[in-house]
C-alpha cells in the first residue's frame, strides 16, 4: 500500500507537469493530508542553528571569521487536566567572544509548573518564568523582568534577543475576566551576584533582589487596550508603568510604553559617581503601517531619562575600554537603552518576491551622538530548514554608542534545522 506521502508527491509531480503545460485548474488541486500525528502536537520543539561569517572589527582593525552553533529546545507537557510543565533551554557556542565571555553559554530560559483549574480563567505558575510586558519593538521600559535576562548575545535584532533571554524565578498568579485581567508576580532574592559560568543557572542575574509586580489590563474597545503596572524592587522606589496599543486605521497600529520611577543616571553608574536617584521617565512610542504589498513598517521613538547624552558618551569613552565594558555590562544583559534618545525603524516583509523568502531589517539611530546600527536579514524557508543571510553595520564617530562597537560590520550565513 502506498503511503500518503508518496501519493502526495506523485500528485505534486503530476500537477507540476500539468502546470508546465499551463493546464492547472484550481479545482483539480487536492489538499495536503492531515495526518493524525500533526494534530496530536509534539510537546518538544527543537531547532539547531549553525553559521559562519566575516567580521570587520575595530579593535584591532582587521577582519576575522566568526562561527556559531546554537541548540534551542522547548518542552511543554500537560501532566494532568489542571497541571502543566514547561521547560525551555538554549545552548550557544560562538567564536570569537567579547570581553572575556565564555565561548559556550547555556541559558536555562524557563522551567515552571502551571496550574489552571479546568474551565477556569485563573492560573498559578511557579518556577523560572519569562514574564514579558510591553508593546514596543526595540525598548520596553515596562518589561520589568528583563533585568539580567541575556547571558549570550547572538544577534543585534532586539526582537530576536527576546527569544534567548532567561526568565526570573517567581510565583505568578493571573486572573482573567471579560475584556480584562490582572497579574501578580512575586520574585524573591535567591543569589547576590551573576554567575557567568557556561552552564550556570545564573539566578544571581535574575533574582538578586526581592521584586513584586502587579499589573492590570483592560480592553476598553476593539481598538484600544491598556495595561497599568506597579513594580516594587528592594532598595528602590516604586515604579509605575503604562503600556497601551491602539488601532488607528485599516493599516495603522500605535503602541506606547511609559515607566516612571527613581533611577540612577547611567553615567553615574559607569563612572562610580555617588549620586542620588532621580525621578526618571522611560518611554517608547511607535507606529506600525502595513502596505498593501505586505511590507510592515514600524517607526519607534525611544527615551531613557537615565541614559547617556552626547557629552556623557565622551566622558565615558575617555575613561578607556574598561568604562565601555561597564557600559555594556549595565545595558546589554538587561536590554536597557543606553542612549538618552533613539529612533528605531523596523521593517518586515513576508514573501519578498518569492513565496518562501522573508525580509527583516532595522536601523537604530542614537539621536544624541548620531551613531547608527543597521541590520538586515533575508530568510528562505523550506519545510524544515531555513537558509539565512544576515548583514550588520555599526557607524558613527569614535566617541559614540555605535561608533565604539567592537564590530564595524558583520556578514554571516546561517542554516536552521527544525525537528
Amino acid at each position: 500500500m502506498r503511503s500518503p506521502t508518496r501519493i502526495a508527491f506523485a500528485a505534486t509531480l503530476l500537477a507540476a507537469a500539468a502546470a508546465s503545460h499551463g493546464q492547472t485548474d484550481p479545482l483539480d488541486l487536492q489538499s495536503a493530508p492531515t495526518p493524525q500525528e500533526t494534530v496530536a502536537e509534539s510537546p518538544l520543539r527543537l531547532f539547531v542553528e549553525a553559521g559562519a561569517g566575516r567580521i570587520d572589527q575595530r579593535f584591532p582593525d582587521d577582519e576575522r571569521t566568526g562561527r556559531r552553533l546554537s541548540v534551542d529546545l522547548r518542552y511543554n507537557r500537560r501532566l494532568s487536566d489542571e497541571l502543566r510543565f514547561s521547560f525551555s533551554d538554549r545552548l550557544d557556542h560562538a567564536s570569537p567572544t567579547l570581553f572575556g565571555q565564555e565561548d559556550t553559554v547555556n541559558t536555562l530560559r524557563e522551567a515552571y509548573l502551571s496550574w489552571q483549574p479546568e474551565g477556569s480563567s485563573a492560573t498559578l505558575d511557579f518556577g523560572r518564568i519569562n514574564l514579558r510586558q510591553g508593546a514596543a519593538f526595540g525598548y520596553n521600559p515596562t518589561d520589568y523582568f528583563r533585568t539580567g535576562g541575556l547571558r549570550a548575545v547572538t544577534t543585534a535584532d532586539p526582537v530576536a534577543l527576546r527569544q534567548i533571554r532567561q526568565g526570573a524565578a517567581m510565583v505568578k498568579g493571573s486572573l482573567l475576566w471579560t475584556n480584562g485581567g490582572a497579574t501578580l508576580a512575586l520574585s524573591p532574592k535567591l543569589r547576590t551576584v551573576p554567575d557567568s559560568g557556561s552552564f550556570a543557572v545564573d539566578l544571581g542575574a535574575t533574582n538578586s533582589r526581592d521584586r513584586a509586580l502587579l499589573s492590570v489590563q483592560t480592553r476598553t474597545s476593539e481598538k484600544f487596550s491598556a495595561q497599568g503596572s506597579l513594580f516594587l524592587e528592594q532598595g528602590s522606589a516604586p515604579n509605575l508603568g503604562l503600556s497601551s496599543t491602539a488601532l488607528l486605521g485599516e493599516a495603522l497600529v500605535a503602541h506606547a510604553d511609559l515607566a516612571v520611577g527613581k533611577k540612577h543616571r547611567l553615567r553615574d553608574q559607569i563612572l562610580n559617581t555617588p549620586a542620588a536617584g532621580k525621578r526618571t521617565v522611560q518611554a517608547a512610542l511607535g507606529l506600525t503601517y502595513t502596505l498593501p504589498n505586505a511590507l510592515a513598517l514600524t517607526l519607534e521613538f525611544e527615551h531613557n531619562g537615565a541614559g547617556l547624552e552626547a557629552d556623557d558618551w565622551t566622558a565615558v569613552l575617555n575613561q578607556g575600554p574598561l568604562a565601555y565594558q561597564r557600559f555594556v555590562a549595565l545595558t546589554q544583559p538587561h536590554q536597557e537603552l543606553g542612549a538618552r534618545n533613539a529612533w528605531l525603524v523596523y521593517v518586515s516583509q513576508k514573501s519578498l518576491g518569492l513565496k518562501q523568502l522573508d525580509l527583516t531589517a532595522f536601523l537604530r539611530t542614537n539621536t544624541d551622538d548620531r551613531s547608527r546600527l543597521g541590520w538586515l536579514e533575508l530568510r528562505y524557508h523550506w519545510p524544515q530548514f531555513d537558509a539565512v543571510l544576515q548583514w550588520q553595520r555599526a557607524s558613527g564617530k569614535a566617541h559614540s554608542e555605535f561608533g565604539a562597537l567592537p564590530y564595524r560590520q558583520l556578514v554571516q550565513l546561517l542554516g536552521v534545522v527544525y525537528f
Binding site: 505534486t12 500537477a15 507540476a16 502546470a19 492547472t24 484550481p26 479545482l27 488541486l29 487536492q30 489538499s31 495536503a32 493530508p33 492531515t34 500533526t38 494534530v39 502536537e41 509534539s42 520543539r45 522547548r74 511543554n76 502543566r84 502551571s114 489552571q116 480563567s121 519569562n130 514574564l131 514579558r132 508593546a135 526582537v159 530576536a160 527576546r162 527569544q163 493571573s174 482573567l176 471579560t178 475584556n179 485581567g181 497579574t183 480592553r219 476593539e222 481598538k223 487596550s225 488601532l247 486605521g249 485599516e250 493599516a251 497600529v253 503602541h255 506600525t288 502595513t290 498593501p292 505586505a294 510592515a296 513576508k350 513565496k355 518562501q356 519545510p383 524544515q384 527544525y418 525537528f419
Partner: protein, 264 residues
Amino acid sequence: MPELLQPRRRFLFGMMIATHWVAPPATAAPDAQALLAASDAIRNPSQPFKATVTLTEFERGVQVNATTLVSQARTLESGGQFVSLLRFVQPARDAGKVMLKNGADLWFYDPSTKASVRISPQQRLIGQASNGDVVTVNFARDYTATLAAEEMVQDGERRNRRAHKLQLTAASEDATYGAIELWIDEANAAPLKARFFADSGRLLKTAYYRRFQNQLGAERPTETVIIDGLQPQSVTIVRLTDYTQRNTPAAWFQRDYLPRFSAE
C-alpha cells in the same frame, strides 16, 4: 435533510427562512439577509467549536506550503461577535504561534519572544489567517445583502447548480472586505462560490466551497478552494477536519490568554 433541523434557535431561524424561500408564494420576494444568515449557519456551527484547519498553498499547480492550525471559535453572547483563536501546529518553525480575532481586535502571539503584537486588518489580510475568514467568519453580522440574480453557477465539484447570487456590502467597521458576491444553493442555502473585493473594488480572492460532510449536526463544506484575485495561479485549499464541540470561555478570547492557549 433531517440533520439540518437542529434545536438551535439562530440556526433554525435561518433555515426556516431559507426553507420558506425555497417554496415561496409566487409573489414573495426572497429575504436576502435571511438567506445570508442561513448560509452562515451552514458554514459555521452555532455552538462553540474546535476544528483542525489545514491550509495547502499552491503556485502554478505545485504545492509550496502546508500549514496546520487548530481553531477554536464561538459567538459572543454580548454583541453577537464571532471570535476565533488560531494556533499553529505545523510547520515546526511556527508551532505554538497564535492569532486572535475579536472583531477589529487582532493579535498575534509568538511563544519564542513571548510577545503579543496588535496587528491591523491590513496586516492580517496579507497572511494565511485571512483565508480562515473565508471559511469561518459570519457574514450576516457585518454585511448587508441584496439579491442580485438567480443563475446557474459551477460549484467546487464542477457541478452546475441553480443559485441565488447575493451582493454583500460592508455594514460595519469589522467587515474585512469592502464587498462580497456570494452564490448560495437555491435548494438548501449552502454556500457554493464567493468573490471577495477590497474597498477599491479590486478582486482579492475567489472561493469555491466543496466536500460537504455532516459535521456537528449539519452538512457543511469541509474544503474551500481560494484563488488569489491578482495572481490566479496562487491557490490555497482550506480543509477543516475534527470538528468537536468545545465551549471555550468568552474571557479566553483576549490578548492575555494567548500565552496560555499557545501552550495547550
